[in-house]
């Protein structure tokens, strides 16, 4: 910095000394351009009651109908929710919940009965819901190795440090490593329809398509092993809490086994909030006019493997249809209606202010 001024001067001096014979000095006059003179054409809004008033009314008028639309849509969605944690003693799963820990090997089965008062017409999505489960905990979220899950062989035997302390079991590396995989939700839910003459029929649950397509086909991949998963995973250990190794998650369907098991993939997508639901199965709409789930009594058969009581968690089963905007959630509709109405009210207030105080600006508002 300091010298540049000096140099400039000196150059200047030299220059003038050398070129003074010509006597033509460069004109330093600034260009008269709109940009350089800061005269770019501009829109200059002035925020006064008068000028913003239309905006408020317009927003109000747009938002309220949208809100009503959303609210109606949300209300048309049918949703049924049942808590099967077994906290209270009269709950069918009370015993399972009470006695079950991660170390229990013997599965505990309980059955919950419920009644649907309205038929579910279209595809029904069956979720399990967990509450008070902090899947978004910082260390929990990090505790995975995406390269391992993507079938990277080196990561399979040497998982990322992020998986600690669920990285190795003894000397053998864990696959899938990390706390997320370790805490995989492993209750099995089976739904039965009890019709009027008390005959029980199992409802077919589809377990394909519950994960994101990209997850299933791009992100998650089994390690290469000539199609034999057992061989591919032979040098790895199962996660501590798991009853069976990863290649036995769905032994019947090789397309749903190992890392590309959809239940596993769904679980690995960590929930944003401590109360969340995850898609478990889909009940597909039957052809014809019969509803997917007619109203009536149902029986939920639970293989109770997943302890939540220790952290005061809750487990739920949710049956829901969905619309174009997702599951049942009246909030957005209400929000639109509220914001719209507030805008409208403020618009009225501004109108009053405008009429009382803002007369001066009538001319100012006319764009000149």
């Amino acid at each position: 910095m300091m010298a540049s001024s000096y140099n400039a001067k000196e150059e200047d001096g030299h220059h003038s000394g050398a070129s003074s014979g010509t006597g033509v000095s460069k004109n330093k006059k600034p260009d008269n351009t709109a940009f350089k003179q800061q005269r770019l054409p501009a829109w200059q809004p002035i925020l006064t009651a008068g000028s913003v008033l239309p905006a408020f009314f317009v927003i109000g008028l747009i938002f309220i109908p949208i809100g009503i639309g959303l609210y109606v849509t949300s209300n048309n969605i049918k949703e049924f929710e049942i808590d099967y944690t077994g906290v209270s003693s009269d709950s069918p799963c009370y015993n399972c919940a009470k006695n079950f820990t991660w170390n229990t090997t013997e599965p505990c089965v309980c059955t919950v009965n419920f009644t649907l008062h309205q038929p579910f017409e279209s595809n029904v999505f069956m979720y399990y819901g967990l509450s008070n489960f902090y899947q978004n905990h910082r260390r929990y979220v990090k505790s995975r190795d995406d390269r391992q899950l993507n079938g990277d062989l080196s990561a399979l035997t040497d998982p990322s440090k992020e998986c600690e302390p669920y990285r190795k079991s003894g000397d053998v590396s864990i696959a899938p490593c990390g706390a997320i995989a370790n805490s995989l939700f492993n209750d099995t839910l089976v739904l039965y329809y009890v019709d009027s003459n008390n005959s029980i029929s199992e409802i077919p649950l589809v377990k394909k398509g519950i994960a994101w397509w990209t997850d299933k086909h791009v992100k998650f991949r089994n390690p290469a092993g000539n199609g034999n998963l057992t061989l591919a995973f032979k040098d790895t250990a199962k996660p501590v809490n798991w009853a069976k190794p990863v290649y036995e998650l769905d032994p019947l369907d090789p397309e749903n086994n190992g890392f590309i098991n959809e239940d596993f993939i769904v679980w690995m997508r960590t929930a944003a909030l401590p109360t969340f639901r995850k898609l478990y199965r889909i009940i597909q709409k039957k052809s014809g006019a019969t509803p997917t789930l007619p109203n009536g009594n149902y029986m939920l058969n639970i293989t109770y493997n997943y302890p939540v009581l220790s952290f005061d968690g809750r487990k739920r089963l949710i049956l829901s249809t969905i619309s174009w905007m997702g599951g049942k959630n009246p909030f957005l509709g209400i929000a639109y209606i509220t914001v719209g109405s507030i805008c409208f009210c403020l618009g009225v207030v501004l109108l009053i202010i405008h009429h009382k105080y803002d007369n001066r600006n009538t001319s100012a508002d006319i764009p000149s």
């Binding site: 030299h14 330093k28 600034p30 927003i59």
Partner: protein
């Protein structure tokens, strides 16, 4: 003779004594220079000059190797950088890390590298120019080849002999040993050093003065001892010690400084004394100062608050985390993962670690890009100020220079302006107006009429120019011709100072080196009465000389007149030049042309051809003794003043010769003066046919009517200095042969030095009457100077000379001794007369002052001028109002404190505040000295504050800076000092913003300033428009930055409540880190650079709007908190709308976080939108670009790698979100809901209690004619002196008044009628 030798012995004793005293420190205080050629063989080791810097300059800060460490080291001086690096490094600690450590380094590295690249580029430019300079050629003597060979500058070493040719740049500081000039002079132009364009004379060292033949370096065997390198351009002292043991003193007159240009001298040889970085020019190069603006200081406070908020948030989260852990007890839930080591952390330890983690996560709250953005915006602002056409001065082809890049916004917050008067408010272009000689006043009415005519023509010409007409080119620029053309005289560079634009152009071609000579100065109509007297007098003198009568018989009033004009002519440092040879004033050039007015010196053996008109001088000059002036030794004195030689001077050539030649050359001489009043006086004397024809170091040639050319032997020149406030010359009068001292100076000092009036009744009367006229002149606003003389007897002179010579040769304390010596000489003067010189106000000064004052600025004028002059100028420029009461504080008695008055009258003044504001305070330098005393300064300020304007006259530069410092520190206000001269430098440096007028008095003020203006009136636009804009832009940008970061960080903070305070973030770490740097960076830069709240026209027409910045209306402390609250509200909306919209759904962490990021971006941009006042296409583009950039980056990022970017692994997230209607619905409602309160508040505020700035904006929108009417109305109303201190009150009144009237008419449709 015996007496002389005694003196001689005394003289001889003195220096050794002095030397002995200084022997000790000499070792380290001086430098010894030997000639290199003596040591050529002994390369390296034995060369005595080897320790001195060579001439290679390196102004670069870095080398290739040292760049990285050094630059980083410098950057870490900024605390913020250390903070961010600390946080980035914290990330490498596994227990606390929040992000991927490498990623967390990215922003810091980015910021550091941006700065580093900037530094690198600057350094490269310096390197380039260094290289260019280092590779310039010069001639250096080579022993091997026994001739001068071309070498690069960088190869020049201390002790080298270099030969310099005309128009060459000096490569180093060189001691002049030989010059081709017959008088052993060398002329240099120092414009690159101090901006003064007049030529300066340098002399060959005395010992080499008498060399007859060409200087031969091989014969040189002396040793030079001189000072260590220092940066004082005007000081150089040392000795040259010859083989014979003789010592000769060296002066600054012997030194040629690096960077100067050799002019008018065919060839010069010198030895290099200081080279490279040790040259005075390089040592004088101080970089721009780093000032911190008020806004930045305020900002730093809020940065500090941000740190506190950050710590509170972290602490809150840490405690929350501890509690959250605690509630689970020993029973760890599956999602609470153990630490990597597998150990189970206790809640307390966990909380402590979390605290650190949260600092990392929330680091964005301290805006990392803020500092960089502010710098970028300021650079852009400086660019726009530079480009402003209104701040461009066409005549001098110069525009405003911003020398300090980081205080542009301070321009909008000024409260006090301290202005110099001369050259700042006035043109500093002196016009001789009146004079009084021997107590008789000569009013020069014709001169006044002519000046009036000038002004008329001036405006006429301006009109003509504005119609695009070009003036016919004139072939010659003589003073008579240029009389008709006129000048608006707004030039800054002296060589273009000759008049109108057309002429300025011509002049710049013709004569680059004419200082201070405008047609106005030159063209003076003499007062007929005085002219008659002069003629009368000189013819009598001629007669007397012819009859060999002693001159003392001349009537004293007549002799006073002639002495008066002689004093005007010779008591100065004016250099004469001729425009016919513009480039070589003394045209002894290679072509063999001869010195125009020069003379063959007796020692010059060369055969000189003399050009025509000076033949008459020759005989006399030929006979001139080979004496050097000033008298340097006692031997000199004896030689000069032995009677036998006196006759040489007495015969004067016949007068008719002189008369004839006088007509010829009259129009051709140009005078170059260091100060404009000198030139004015010389031109005035010329109008009375008493013209300065030539000046040499040892004599002045004056041409008088009838008497012809007279050569005054110049014995001493005691230069002007600001303490003595006078200058004197000691000459030997050729007619009377007396040693005469002519003194010219400020009347206050001269009057005190006049011989006590009891000596003669006549003198007493003269003094009395002169004083009377001086008061009259001052009342007219003229600058007054008194002229006096003194005749010394030889004995007196010898006595004085002895001590003076001792003073001159002293190395230590030479200045003080010379000063004392001057004081001894300048006593018992005989008053000749006084002159009144007009210093015209610059264009637009009264208007500028009026409008700055309306803008709420307090204007103080601090001047060195005398009180009456200052008061009159103050009235002329509307600083003082005739209706005001003047409170004048003058001290005559040291025991009297002027503030006793105030303390007794203060109760009454407080009860009537209105009266107080109509006071004007005038204080003089002596009183100011008391006022600035610790015990009185508070009282002084109290008085000064209650006055509308303050005028400090007769103040020294130090006092000026003390006043500024006092006001600045005590009142805690923003101060601006504006001045043009060296005496304003200290004031300019002390003030918050220093403004230099790149005007008539050199460049010192400009060098010291933060902003350099060509004219005073540009201050109006600089402050009112650019200052206002810069301030409001930056203030809004800083507030916005705080808001933006807080809003973004708060999103994560809210999330902590839903993730067990674990420090988890739903926003992908890439977005989190690059949000500030990329996605939201551009629009705010554009707005910060281009936003205009009110148009330039309105800002200038309604100066009241400036108060906005003075009161820091745009950025008050509460605004920071309001912004924080708003940020927290908006983040709540942006967080909870998606929260509820996705509550209890199967959304995953980052698929939920990405919409939140998007919403935050939209909200932040929309927020900026509501704060943007002018939307140009650039604003639209930048916002569109930001959004596009975000989505592009997000889409690319989310599609790039399916198994990377742990932990978020956002593969295909954005793509999926874009397919969801819910995402769009959120994007629609959230920003609107978030901005609703702010938008509503802005609308209400704009209507219910609009700020003046908002009113100004509304005014902008009105049709032009209505606007004009309103503005003219406001000028009448607000400008009234009733309440100048409260412009707002009146503005508010104005508006309410307008409400009532304007609307009424607006409704009826014919507005004009109303006004």
């Amino acid at each position: 003779m015996a007496r002389h030798s005694e003196e001689d012995a005394g003289m001889a004793k003195a220096p050794p004594a002095a030397r002995q005293r200084k022997k000790k420190p000499k070792e380290n205080k001086t430098r010894t220079v030997h000639a290199n050629i003596l040591h050529d063989c002994a390369k390296g080791e034995e060369n005595p000059n080897r320790h001195y810097a060579n001439n290679k300059i390196k102004t670069t800060k870095y080398t290739v190797l040292s760049f990285l460490p050094k630059n980083l080291f410098e950057q870490f001086h900024r605390f913020a950088n250390v903070y961010f690096v600390f946080i980035a490094l914290l990330n490498f600690v596994p227990v606390v890390n929040a992000f991927q450590p490498e990623l967390a380094l990215a922003p810091v590295v980015f910021i550091l590298s941006v700065t580093a690249i900037k530094d690198l580029w600057e350094d490269y430019r310096r390197h380039r120019s260094d290289k260019e300079i280092n590779h310039m050629d010069c001639l250096v003597y080579s022993r091997a080849e026994r001739r001068y060979v071309e070498k690069y500058w960088k190869e020049v070493r201390v002790g080298d002999f270099i030969r310099l040719r005309c128009n060459e740049l000096l490569p180093a500081d060189v001691l002049l040993l030989s010059s081709s000039d017959p008088d052993r002079l060398c002329h240099i132009e120092t414009a690159t050093l101090d901006g003064e364009t007049n030529l300066k004379q340098r002399q060959v060292v005395r010992s080499f003065y008498d060399l007859d033949c060409e200087f031969d370096p091989l014969k040189y065997n002396s040793i030079i001892e001189c000072e260590k390198p220092n940066n004082d351009l005007n000081r150089f002292r040392g000795y040259i010690i010859h083989r014979s043991g003789r010592r000769d003193a060296l002066y600054k007159e012997n030194l040629l400084l690096r960077g100067c240009t050799i002019r008018n001298t065919e060839e010069a040889v010198g030895i290099v004394i200081y080279a490279g970085h040790e040259t005075k020019a390089m040592l004088n190069n101080n970089g721009p100062r780093y000032k911190r603006s008020k806004l930045e200081r305020q900002m730093n406070v809020d940065v500090f608050w941000c740190v506190i908020i950050l710590l509170v948030m972290c602490l809150f989260a840490a405690v929350g985390h501890g509690l959250w852990m605690f509630q689970y007890g020993d029973n760890r839930p599956v999602f609470d993962v153990l630490s990597p080591e597998g150990t189970n952390l206790s809640p307390i330890m966990s909380a402590i670690y979390l605290f650190l983690t949260m600092i990392i996560v929330f680091q964005v709250l301290i805006p990392i890009s803020l500092f960089v953005s502010i710098e970028i915006v300021k650079i852009c602002q400086v660019y726009f100020i530079h480009q402003d056409m209104d701040l461009y001065d066409e005549e001098t082809d110069s525009h405003l220079q911003c020398r300090a890049l980081n205080i542009t916004e301070d321009l909008g917050q000024m409260q006090y302006i301290f202005s110099d008067k001369t050259g700042t408010l006035t043109e500093n272009k002196m016009v001789f107006r009146r004079c009084t000689v021997a107590g008789v006043e000569y009013s020069h009415d014709a001169n006044a009429r002519r000046l009036a005519m000038y002004q008329e023509m001036d405006s006429e010409e301006e009109e003509c120019m504005s119609h695009g007409g070009t003036l016919p080119r004139r072939d010659s620029v003589t003073s008579h011709q240029s009389a008709r053309v006129v000048l608006r005289s707004q030039s800054t560079k002296s060589h273009r100072r000759t008049g109108s634009r057309a002429e300025a152009k011509r002049a710049s071609i013709l004569s680059k080196h004419t200082a201070f000579s405008s047609p106005m100065e030159k063209d003076i109509t003499p007062d007929p009465k005085l002219l008659d007297k002069v003629n009368d007098c000189s013819s009598q003198m001629d007669f007397m000389r012819f009859h060999s009568q002693p001159m003392s018989q001349l009537p004293s009033d007549l002799s006073d007149i002639i002495d008066f004009f002689i004093a005007l002519t010779i008591c100065n440092t004016v250099v004469v030049s001729s425009p016919n040879q513009p480039r070589h004033k003394v045209t002894l050039t290679c072509s063999g042309q001869k010195h125009q007015f020069g003379q063959t010196s007796v020692r010059s053996k060369r055969d000189h051809l003399w050009t025509g008109l000076h033949n008459d001088v020759l005989p006399q000059l030929h006979s001139r003794l080979p004496l050097k002036s000033p008298v340097k030794t006692i031997e000199d004195f004896i030689k000069r003043f032995t009677p036998s030689l006196e006759q040489v001077f007495s015969p004067i050539p016949p007068s008719y010769d002189g008369k004839a030649s006088w007509n010829l050359e009259e129009g051709e001489l140009r005078y170059e003066a260091e100060s404009p009043d000198e030139a004015a006086l010389v031109y005035a004397a010329r109008a009375y046919k008493c013209s300065l024809v030539g000046r040499l170091p040892d004599q002045v040639i004056v041409e008088l009517p009838h008497l012809g050319k007279l050569s005054f032997e110049l014995l001493h020149t005691l230069g002007f200095d600001s303490t003595r406030k006078r200058m004197s010359v000691v000459v030997r009068h050729p007619l009377t042969d007396q040693i005469t001292v002519y003194t010219k100076g400020a009347d206050s000092v001269i009057m005190d030095l006049i011989k006590p009036p009891d000596t003669g009744k006549r003198q007493k009367k003269i003094v009395c009457r002169t004083q009377h006229y001086l008061n009259l002149y001052a009342a007219d606003g003229l600058r007054t100077l008194c002229i006096a003389k003194k005749i010394l007897s030889k004995e007196e002179y010898a006595c004085w000379l002895q001590r003076h010579l001792a003073a001159e040769t002293a190395i230590q304390g030479r200045e003080e001794l010379l000063f004392e010596s001057a004081l001894r000489l300048e006593t018992n003067l005989h008053l000749l007369g006084a002159t009144g010189i007009e210093d015209r106000l610059q264009d637009g000064v009264p208007e500028t002052i009026a409008s700055l004052r309306k803008a709420g600025l307090q204007i103080w004028v601090l001047t060195g001028d005398k009180q009456e002059t200052a008061v009159n100028i103050a009235y002329a420029c509307k600083l003082l109002d005739p209706e005001e009461e003047l409170l004048t504080l003058n001290t005559f008695n040291t025991n009297f404190s002027p503030f006793d008055i105030y303390s007794s009258s203060s109760p009454s003044s407080q009860s009537t505040p209105f009266l107080v504001h109509r006071l004007g305070l005038v204080i003089d330098g002596r009183t100011l000295a008391y006022a600035l005393d610790k015990s009185l300064e508070d009282k002084f300020l109290a008085v000064a504050r209650s006055c509308r304007s303050v005028l400090c006259c007769r103040s020294t530069p130090l006092q000026k800076s003390m006043v500024v410092k006092l006001v600045r520190n005590k009142l805690k206000v923003m101060t601006l000092a504006i001045g043009d001269g060296a005496n304003d430098v200290s004031m300019i440096q002390v003030a918050d913003v220093g403004v230099g007028i790149s005007g008539q008095e050199g460049m010192q003020a400009v060098m010291a300033s933060d902003f350099a203006l060509p004219r005073f009136r540009y201050l109006q636009k600089l402050l009112l428009v650019h200052g206002h804009w810069c301030y409001s832009r930056l203030a809004n940008m800083i507030l916005y930055f705080f808001y933006k970061n807080a809003m973004f960080v708060a999103l994560i903070f809210w999330y902590q409540f839903y993730c067990g305070f674990s420090g988890s973030a739903m926003i992908d770490q890439w977005y989190l880190i690059f949000f500030n740097l990329m996605f939201s960076a551009f629009p705010q830069l554009i707005t910060g650079t281009l936003d205009k709240d009110v148009s330039a026209e309105t800002l200038q027409q309604l100066p009241q709007l400036y108060v906005n910045g003075q009161n820091s209306e745009e950025y008050k402390p509460y605004m920071f908190w309001m912004n924080m609250i708003d940020a927290f509200y908006q983040s709540l909306v942006c967080f909870f709308i998606p929260y509820f919209a996705y509550a209890d759904s199967d959304v995953d962490l980052f698929t939920w976080g990405t919409p939140i990021t998007t919403l935050a971006l939209f909200t932040i941009l929309l927020h900026l939108g509501t704060e943007t006042k002018t939307w140009t296409w650039m604003n639209w583009m930048s916002i569109a670009f930001s959004i596009a950039l975000f989505f592009t980056v997000a889409l690319c990022y989310n599609a790039s790698c399916p198994a990377c970017y742990s932990p978020s692994n956002p593969y295909w997230t954005m793509q999926r979100l874009l397919q969801e209607p819910l995402f769009y619905l959120l994007c629609f409602i959230t920003p609107i809901a978030a901005l609703l309160p702010r938008f509503f508040y802005r609308a209400c505020q704009g209507t219910l209690f609009p700020s003046p700035v908002q009113l100004g904006r509304q005014l902008d929108k009105l049709p032009a004619d209505i606007r004009r009417n309103i503005l003219s109305l406001s000028r009448v109303k607000v400008g009234s002196p009733l309440c100048p201190k409260l412009p707002f009150l009146s503005l508010a009144k104005l508006w309410s008044w307008l409400d009532a009237h304007f609307l009424l008419v607006a409704g009826s449709g014919n507005i004009e009628v109303c006004f």
